[in-house]
Amino acid sequence: MLKPQPILDPAAHDAIRAIGQAALLSRVVALYLGESPKLIEALRSAVATNDGEALQRAAHTLKSSSRGLGGIRLGAVCAECESRVRAGRLAEAAQLLDAVDQEYALFEQALAITGVGAVA
């Protein structure tokens, strides 16, 4: 189902560094690491309450922000989740929650390895 893709695309980080603002990348990563657990939590509660709209929005936001920081695989799982909800396949979307957890953990580690994020 998922093609072999990088967990973290360094080009995204280069683009943020290119803006030229000191410590911008670390600030963005810190913000990302603070916001993402809330979004994952929102995914779970949306599945629990069977709220498709909330599920789609949370998946979308996590997708965008992850991609913005080079989280290609996490972004792809979120995108798949989002598109299943849009197609009305809520149950199938819910099956992706574990994959989201898994990919998030990997991405978090990758960020730590590149030295811009801390491991929880």
Partner: protein, 715 residues
């Protein structure tokens, strides 16, 4: 970055704080000020407060998605032209289409490199500033067009999209001129002008050329306006493929009204509103043009003279004069309005100089104008109430038709006037058709008439005096005052000729009054040297009919201070025949003033003896024809004797006119005739000449007077 773009403020609307942080940093690094909102409602509130130059808008957000926010911004008064860039997902292909629909200026995938996004905003803001100045320039143009009541309108001949300036709607009286196609425009064009417009436009389209015309439109409220409509046809779009018509329309209603007013004044008399001479000529010219194509459309014109009008109008003064002119015009208009006058096309014109024209064009027969002319004459000769009294005019008329005389309007009018000059001898309601032989004599009369008017103003008229001698004592007892006119280049004009013209055209009142005043003044002046020498002045029929004459007489007596008993007025018998009642009244008035009345040319007319009893007459003047023959013809001699005897028997004085010899004067004396005048004694002279003659006459003894008479006469 220049100063202007540095101060521009971008609003980031995104629920993802990381996205806001990255984009915000990128925009700031490019010199923008950045504000951000995490949802649409917050964004709308912020935008309403103002100061935002550009919006970056995420699509997926809680409460309101980006499309809804964008549409809401566009619906506001402040947000119609605000640059909006929408951030869409890679997966959502529909999003770009929706972004366009809701009015976003541009879109970018969310994954776009943040620095590129900032560049994109720069492009957007530059496009906005170009559009702003274009809109400002359009607003200025629209404002200028509104002021000029001018609108431009670009349309496609086959229908479809059209570009219309705001003022077009206003000119047409529509709420909006939007989507105005040619058919819609034509539906507002005055029905009578639509074909003309279509034809002009069609031709211009065929030739890829221009058109230009004035046409009327009818506004939805029914108001009619006049437009100037100019157009050019061409392929004006960038690709030069689409045939387009560019129309410029402007409202020329006011200008047209002013022009029409000017034109009206050029062709109409301002006081009466009737056509003037130029308007009459124009009407006739139109009739002649039409009659060229159709032999059943004939042209005729009548000229009427309101005999006595000018005199009355001058006497009344300006205000009443205008009232009178308008009353005349109203009667003319009434006649033309009556249904009985539905023959051809008729018009009355006020030619000035107390003349009126009745022109008929498109007549089946020129004579069809005659019944209408008769009605006009009847209407004009009814009394006019004015200033608490009534005045009445004659209305003799002359008619000319294009059949019998020249075919140019000017000559037609002159010919009708010529015929009128002949007609007016036959009374106030006379009418005559123009005939060619009238021309020569009429031309001279016409010329003399206008010369006489001018001459009056230039003192070309003067008074000559011829002495009257008492036959018994050879004493100078009186003088006859005679009107003389020395034409500036024709020399002296015979009094019979110019007095007749003056009577016909009404100038006799003024000439008569002048002669009377001059004679009274001269006679009063010579009383010092020749006491008791009276003056006699000829009175024409027209003067005697005019009640105003008594005022003139009183004025002349008062101004000169002449003893009324030293004034004698000479009238002819015909006056008594024509107008005996009125004449009797005026003669009686004259007598109460002590002025004497002489009956001139006695023996030539009816010579009804009853006149001598019925009217207050003091003197009888024996006509020169009897005096001429008194030596050679026994009949003439008998008549003269009888007249003298008769006048004496009823206590009147007799005067012989035209005495040319000593023998004649002796014979008249032997019959008992009281006085005589003639070349034998003295020809008519200027006042100075007469006074010189009188001096020497007085100075000479009885014996030598006969001799002096002869020598003076031949000087």
């Amino acid at each position: 970055m220049d100063e202007l773009t540095q101060s521009e403020c971008v609003l980031l609307v995104d629920d993802d704080p990381t996205a806001r942080l990255i984009a915000g940093a990128a925009l700031e690094s490019e010199g923008f000020r950045v504000e951000s909102c995490s949802n649409g409602l917050e964004a709308l509130t912020r935008l309403e407060a103002g100061g935002i130059d550009c919006v970056l808008l995420d699509v997926v957000m809680p409460y309101m998605d980006g499309f809804e926010v964008c549409a809401a911004i566009r619906a506001t008064t402040w947000g119609a032209f605000l640059p909006i860039l929408m951030l869409t997902s890679l997966e959502d292909a529909e999003a770009t289409a929706r972004a366009y629909e809701v009015g976003a200026n541009d879109f970018a995938p969310k994954t776009t490199n943040a620095l590129l996004l900032a560049r994109r905003v720069q492009f957007l803001l530059r496009a906005k500033s170009t559009a702003d100045s274009l809109r400002a320039s359009e607003r200025r143009l629209q404002r200028a067009q509104q002021i000029a009541r001018l609108g431009h309108w670009e349309w496609l001949p086959g229908g479809g999209r059209a570009a219309v300036s705001e003022s077009v709607g206003q000119i047409l009286g529509l709420e909006s001129g939007a989507n105005l196609d040619f058919e819609r425009f034509c539906s507002q064009v005055h029905p009578a002008d639509v074909e003309m417009l279509r034809a002009a436009v069609e031709q211009a389209i065929g030739e890829l050329g221009r058109f230009g015309l004035d046409h009327r439109i009818v506004q939805p409220g029914g108001q009619v306006r006049v437009l100037r409509h100019e157009g050019i046809v061409g392929r004006m779009d960038a690709s030069r493929s689409q045939l387009t018509v560019l129309s410029i329309i402007y409202d020329i209603t006011e200008r047209r009204r002013a022009e029409e007013r000017l034109e009206f004044l050029a062709y109409h008399d301002e006081v009466t509103g009737l056509a003037n001479r130029v308007g009459c000529l124009e009407f006739l010219a139109e009739g002649l043009r039409r009659s060229g194509a159709d032999s059943n459309r004939k042209v005729a014109v009548a000229v009427l003279e309101l005999a006595g009008f000018r005199h009355v109008s001058n006497t009344l003064g300006d205000r009443r004069g205008i009232e009178l002119v308008r009353a005349v015009a109203a009667r003319l208009a009434d006649v033309l309005r009556s249904p009985a006058t539905s023959v051809g096309d008729l018009r009355v014109a006020w030619l000035g100089s107390e003349r009126v024209a009745l022109a008929g064009i498109g007549l089946e027969d020129p004579e069809h104008i005659l019944p209408i002319l008769r009605r006009v004459q009847t209407a004009l000769t009814q009394p006019f109430p004015i200033a608490g009294a009534e005045v009445q005019f004659g209305a003799p008329a002359g008619v000319a038709s294009a059949e019998e005389s020249a075919r140019d309007p000017e000559t037609l009018l002159i010919n009708a006037a010529t015929a009128m000059l002949h007609a007016r001898r036959n009374g106030p309601l006379a009418c005559m058709f123009f005939a060619e032989p009238m021309n020569a004599s009429a031309a001279r009369r016409l010329a003399l008439e206008s010369d006489l008017r001018r001459g009056l103003g230039r003192d070309e008229l003067w008074v000559a005096y011829q002495p009257r001698i008492e036959l018994k004592g050879r004493r100078l007892v009186g003088v006859e005052a005679l009107a003389r006119w020395t034409h500036p280049w024709q020399g002296p004009i015979r009094p019979e000729e110019f007095i007749k013209i003056a009577e016909e055209c009404g100038l006799i009142h003024e000439i008569g009054a002048r002669v009377l005043r001059r004679a009274c003044a001269d006679a009063a002046a010579w009383q010092d040297r020749f006491p008791g020498v009276a003056v006699s002045v000829n009175l024409s029929g027209a003067q005697l009919r005019n009640i105003d004459f008594l005022r003139v007489l009183d004025g002349a007596l008062a101004d000169s201070g002449l003893d009324p008993r030293l004034l004698e007025l000479e009238i002819t018998e015909s006056l008594l025949v024509d107008n005996s009642e009125a004449a009797a009244r005026i003669l009686a008035e004259i007598c109460t003033r002590g002025v004497r009345v002489a009956l001139d040319d006695f023996g030539t007319g009816y010579s009804a003896l009853s006149y001598l009893r019925r009217f207050p007459i003091h003197v009888v003047k024996i006509d020169r024809s009897f005096v001429r023959d008194v030596l050679s013809s026994p009949e003439a001699a008998t008549l003269v004797r009888a007249i003298v005897a008769l006048t004496h028997s009823i206590g009147l004085h007799s005067v012989a006119e035209g005495v040319e010899s000593l023998e004649q004067s002796q014979r008249l004396a032997s019959y008992g005739c009281d006085e005589a005048q003639g070349f034998y004694f003295c020809k008519p002279r200027s006042v100075a000449g007469f006074l010189a003659w009188a001096e020497s006459w007085q100075a000479a003894g009885d014996e030598t007077r006969e001799h002096r008479a002869l020598t003076l006469q031949n000087r």
